[in-house]
């Protein structure tokens, strides 16, 4: 499974909907991820990819879309 598929799997786990948005579409504006699901989703991403997201990077914009999540995760691996 590539990184993109692993990320989609995690987003689906915390999503309010079954459909997934386009890679650049906002997970927040589309209603897929709400404010309280976001911290849990990031914790799961940390576990899945074996990374630690520092407090200074806990900016929702960095994790707003599938593409941004993948870009951030791969920059930390």
């Amino acid at each position: 499974m590539d990184n993109s598929e692993r990320i989609i799997g995690i987003v689906r786990k915390f999503s309010n909907h079954t459909a997934l948005p386009d890679p650049d579409e906002s997970l927040f504006d589309s209603g897929l991820i709400d404010s309280f699901a976001l911290p849990d989703m990031l914790s799961e991403l940390e576990r899945e990819f074996g990374i630690q997201i520092p407090a200074s990077d806990l900016n929702p914009r960095k994790f707003e879309s599938l593409a941004r999540i993948q870009s951030y995760i791969e920059s930390r691996m």
């Binding site: 404010s35 309280f36 976001l38 911290p39 990031l42 407090a55 200074s56 806990l58 900016n59 929702p60």
Partner: protein
Amino acid sequence: MAAIRGFGAYLPSRVVTNAELAAPLDCEAGWILDVSGIEERRYAASTESVASMGVSAAQQCLERAELKASDLGMLLVSSGSSERRFPGPASAIVHALNVDGIPAIDLPMASAGSLFGMALAAPLSQIYGNILVIASEKMSAIVSRQPLERGVVPLFGDGAGACLISPESGPVKILDALLNSDGAFADDLRLEFSAPLEMNGRSVILQASRKIPSAIAGLLERNGQPASAVKVFLMHQANQNLMDRVARALQVDAAHFYSNIRHYGNTSSASMLIAAAEWWRHPGPRAGDLICFAAFGAGFHWGALLAQTV
């Protein structure tokens, strides 16, 4: 070692239900309860101010601690909603309590101000004697600023709390405190003069859900205590979901987190002391109980304080 002698609180008499807010916010009362866990909140009368509510909480605290205002050596007054730039409410409160002359210091901090006040009062009490920490907020005056925000207005309420900290004698000893500040996200929760409250809820929740458990865990670890040893967590009543999340992160039953947010909403820096005042009356401290206070707020400022019943 500093000790807590007691708490006091003041809540305005006017109860504002979700049904009352639903029409001006163009939403359903049930929606407010679903998204916030808040059923009602209190709004101060137009004649009530941050200072007058603070005085009422202070007087109740002194009465419960069986002390007189003349026994005080200092006031620390926290508020993020004071009516003017300066002087802050501390000077009005020291005058109303008829103890002009002692130092009365304003902490212009929303949400975490009461925790910072308690943590600072502990060592300062060794110099100044009895210190009354007061937190008072008139959030209704803030959230009523136009344009009304559906995601903000229902969350907040008015009220005041107080805590008496003595240099040595008292039923609850203060063991340790851990305070933190980080300005990197200062714009994500802010109140400019004469402007509506600005809140990036996602950022606040994301930061708070990491920083609060981390502060509590760090404080407990350096005191050699597991989270399971804490009898009650008295937290800033920001959001029920957030409190439940902190409990989960610490692997503690949420029942150990005292909650009154359903009835008062988020009263910013006053909320932790109002919760403590209620808990103190019922069920109240028992010998050996570990008590953990925690708060997080605009700044961001956050931390935790550990105390134990004698």
